[in-house]
Amino acid sequence: MAQIIVVTSGKGGVGKTTSSAAIGTGLALKGFKTVIIDFDIGLRNLDLIMGVERRVVYDFVNLINGDSNITQTLIKDKRVEGLYILPASQTRDKDALTREGVEKVLNDLSEKFDYIICDSPAGIEQGALMALYFADEAIVVTNPEVSSVRDSDRILGILASKSRRSEQGLEPVKEHLLLTRYNPSRVEKGEMLSVEDVSEILAVKLIGVIPESQAVLKASNIGEPVILDEQSDAGQAYLDTIERLLGNKVDYRFLSEEKKGIFKRLFGG
């Protein structure tokens, strides 16, 4: 049985796909057989972030409709062993994801994989609801910014009432907060919500803080998940996040500005 993890946020552009790619890749690096599914029907992008856009033949909707089988549809990553991508289709039919269809695919994948990462689309429409419905765990990606925090709160409400676990009265979906595009120097100046602020407002346990980083744009430009850029701050922050996801205790890095000299510290800069 695979563990199903949804990467969700409500708001768009906060880093769901970047995080899905990084987390899926990170779990595979740890030796877990992992598949990342793009639930953004009509606006597929995971393939691009993973650098496999030219290898897409069949997609998620083909698989649901029985036009293709799992072996034909999954794209095997060439960099990391045990990592697979299931691309979204480019159809305009938003209702192509039926609950029964998604359930069947997840059940089939569940027999072959350790982790299934569901990359949710933005919003709270069908695609987003399907991405979170079957989840065991949820990673709520949030930027330290008011509209993102509010949308994350909406998503937390939906996880608590519209997921399979809530409907069937099972143990609730395990929620994690992943703060992305964090800028410690703006936080220190009082211009940006801090980690403590956001986790206090949402009352969800923190799993990682990814600093605003040049490395993220570079990674998506070349189609390589940022976690593979081990020299970068964002890459290291995602590696730490994986450790915490696996239950290991890791100290937080990149939460404060780079160290200043004693003079600057005393008199401000």
Binding site: R150, L193, D197, I201, G268
Partner: protein, 87 residues
């Protein structure tokens, strides 16, 4: 924090303002959700009671709504459509 900051009066930062605004929104959302959950639980209980006396009642034949009309007036509206073939 620089040393000079200790002597300046504490200003409310924009981050603090954001936090306060968000805390209000989040509290409202959670309260509304809790109320929704309470109403659906109440609906379920009422349905069970009615089933004791009238068999075969359709779950959709019951609706429970809570309306906030004025600040100090809430109306709980309960609507039950009984089937035609009631004994």
């Amino acid at each position: 924090m620089s040393l000079l900051n200790y002597f300046r009066p504490k200003k409310t930062t924009v981050a603090n303002q954001a936090k306060e605004r968000l805390q209000i929104i989040v509290a409202q959302r959670r309260r509304a959700d809790d109320q929704g959950n309470m109403l659906s639980a109440m609906e379920k209980d009422i349905l069970e009671v009615i089933r004791k006396y009238y068999l075969n009642i359709d779950p959709d034949a019951i609706s429970v709504q809570l309306e906030q009309n004025e600040d100090d007036l809430s109306v709980l509206e309960l609507n039950v459509t009984l089937p035609d073939d009631v004994k």
